[in-house]
């Protein structure tokens, strides 16, 4: 064993190691040889031994109470905590794995196409694609004259004209629409307004 005494920098260090019995046989013999020929060193050793005894006595007499938790209770607590930590680790997502990645790209295209189809259907339903585009408000033409018995439309007029002709609706619509149909046929716009 390599000499340790030569590496210790003070008498206190050497004596502490000597008292702790942590020196190898050769180092121990060397220290005892030093002690035999050095009275102050022997007195220093005695003082250090007393000091050590005092401290040991203090720390030993006033034993820290570990009675609150028994060994078995401590074992149970620790094992429970270890199992709990293991379960929490299992529930956590793996490192680098995001919980939310967002929608797949193809879904955006599908959604855009569906929205376009919906808009197209809505516009078609409102008559936006009819020839001439005369009725942007939608509805095309409405019957302005009906057969009283069959209810069949006898004549129709664009929605705008229907409002001009008969805001009240109902029978007046039929009367006015009859008239309006005739007038429309004759293209007499001024007479239409007078009727109102």
């Amino acid at each position: 064993m390599a000499s340790l005494v030569n590496k210790l920098e003070s008498n206190e260090a050497i004596l502490l190691m000597y008292l702790a019995d942590e020196l190898g046989p050769e180092d121990r013999a060397e220290v005892e040889q030093m002690l035999a020929g050095d009275r102050p060193l022997r007195e220093q050793l005695a003082s250090l031994r007393d000091l050590q005894g005092f401290v040991k006595g203090q720390l030993g007499e006033t034993q820290v109470g570990v009675g609150a938790v028994s060994d078995e209770a401590a074992v149970r607590r620790v094992m429970r905590a270890v199992r709990q930590q293991g379960m929490e680790a299992m529930c956590r997502p793996a490192a680098g794995v995001a919980l939310w990645r967002g929608w797949p790209r193809w879904t955006y295209a599908v959604a855009a196409a569906a929205a376009a189809v919906f808009i197209m259907i809505s516009l078609w339903g409102m008559g936006a694609f009819e020839m001439g585009g005369q009725n942007p408000m939608g509805g095309g033409s409405v019957p302005v004259a009906r057969d009283d018995e069959t209810g069949e439309a006898l004549a129709t007029a664009p929605l705008e004209e229907r409002w001009l002709l008969s805001p009240a609706g109902g029978e007046r619509l039929n009367e006015a629409s009859l008239h309006a149909a005739e007038l429309q046929a004759s293209e007499d716009d001024e007479a239409l307004v007078l009727m109102l």
Binding site: L16, A68, V75
Partner: protein
């Protein structure tokens, strides 16, 4: 799947390192044996280090959680003190973390009242042993942190000076010097009125 090693199959005096190897294989009983083996010295050490039995038990639990988490990194050959030194190093780090987070080092240096008094039982008449206990606790608290660690590791962990030096990451001469100063200061504080 956990390997259940029957308790009766464990030899009477199994070394710490052998139990660690069994723990790595998943033997719960080996872990329980280690906890049982180190409970009292570890808690005594932590209690002296942090001044509270309640906190010591909490730190004890945290120490073992850390041990289990890092069990794969423990290398017997890398540490002269073996598993014991490793356990107490982790425990010391846990206590130091708590110490720093609470700012008690500053409080101790300023001579403020210590947490140990906060945990003292509400009693009108204290036994002499209790007073002595508290006096010792206050004296230990007043030691510088590095001296306190060496002193407690020596008396409660029963570690060798070489192991203590390695655990604390300081030269052997430094550890011995701190031990000497700690003993002198403790004696002075205990002999004060």
């Amino acid at each position: 799947m956990r390997l259940q090693v029957p308790e009766e199959s464990l030899p009477v005096a199994v070394s710490d390192e052998a139990l660690v190897e069994q723990m790595r294989l998943g033997a719960d009983t080996a872990g329980e044996e280690l906890v049982r083996r180190y409970h009292r010295p570890l808690v005594r050490y932590l209690q002296r280090l942090c001044g509270s039995e309640q906190v010591a038990e909490e730190l004890h639990q945290q120490t073992w959680l850390s041990i289990v988490e890092h069990l794969g990194k423990f290398d017997v050959s890398a540490s002269s003190g073996g598993f014991k030194a490793w356990v107490f190093r982790i425990a010391t780090n846990k206590a130091n973390d708590l110490w720093r987070s609470r700012g008690r080092e500053k409080a101790a240096k300023d001579g403020l009242k210590l947490i140990v008094d906060q945990h003292a039982p509400q009693a009108g008449h204290r036994l002499e042993a209790g007073e002595q206990q508290q006096k010792l606790g206050r004296a230990i608290e007043q030691l510088p942190e590095n001296q306190r660690e060496v002193l407690l590791l020596r008396y409660y962990a029963n570690l060798k000076f070489v192991e203590i030096a390695e655990l604390l990451g300081c030269p052997l001469n430094t550890a011995l010097g701190r031990m000497h100063k700690a003993m002198l200061k403790l004696k002075d504080l205990m002999e004060e009125e």
